[in-house]
Symmetry: C2
Subunit: 143 residues, 2 copies
Amino acid sequence: MNTRYADRIVGKLRTEGLKVTPQRIAILNFLDGNRSHPSVDEIHREVLRAFPTISLATVYNTLETLEKMGVIRALCIDPTRKRFDPDTSLHHHARCDRCGTIRDVWGDLGPTLRLPDDVSREFVAEGASVSFRGHCRECVTYC
Amino acid sequence: MNTRYADRIVGKLRTEGLKVTPQRIAILNFLDGNRSHPSVDEIHREVLRAFPTISLATVYNTLETLEKMGVIRALCIDPTRKRFDPDTSLHHHARCDRCGTIRDVWGDLGPTLRLPDDVSREFVAEGASVSFRGHCRECVTYC
DNA sequence: TTCGATGCAAAGCCTTTGCATCCTG
DNA sequence: CAGGATGCAAAGGCTTTGCATCGAA
């Protein structure tokens, strides 16, 4: 049967001896199924509605914890801030230069994601990601 | 015959009606052939040695100008700061999680960097880059 | 009861901006 | 000489840190 993302992570927190606080639950509920690749500030602003006292520092702390647990991924695609993705399975991203929206890109880019032999002798790759830039359909007409 | 990177860009600056200042020349000379993917601060610190009065703002301004001219590329691979690459031809990068070093990755990655059809109906790609993360040979033994 | 988590405020970086002055073209 | 470029300082935005207090287990 399906377990909700938030429930699954709560179990993992317990397993690792970390505490399950209402703030963490609120953040996990917001991330659950979220494909908007929100920034720290967006997460904070949204969770604030359900939880008026949560601080920015708590959001930063929680996201760091979740990232270390490997249940969210920090994206380096917006040059002005980190963005977070609760989907840690292999996929890529495309960012609109005009509106900043980031969309998921699924597809077999596999062959691309291996280091050439000359580099792999010098560098052990543990992950790879592809970032596309360009314009989304809404914005392309204005460029 | 070969034209040095810096000389070529100086010509381009003139062509575009922009001014060729000693500060800009110093920055271009530092970038010429540089494969360290330096940050703004690293560029500033280095150019400062030859040009003790150059300000950080000038470095920021110049890099922005050069990026708009398309003669340098800003990399989004270090989550803490922008990095710059004077080589704008199609290649990718690998960043060591431990020491932060960024190395170039050349190889036949180009042809496969196309958006899947379902996405390309919604998004016009104008560029793509592949980022590898992992550990360089010097650092991998400490992990 | 314990020790990690929270909230708040301050501090730290990176980057941008405003403006008077300078200097290339 | 005109307009773009520079230098300086201040401000802005994102992120981290210190510390007293709180609360999950």
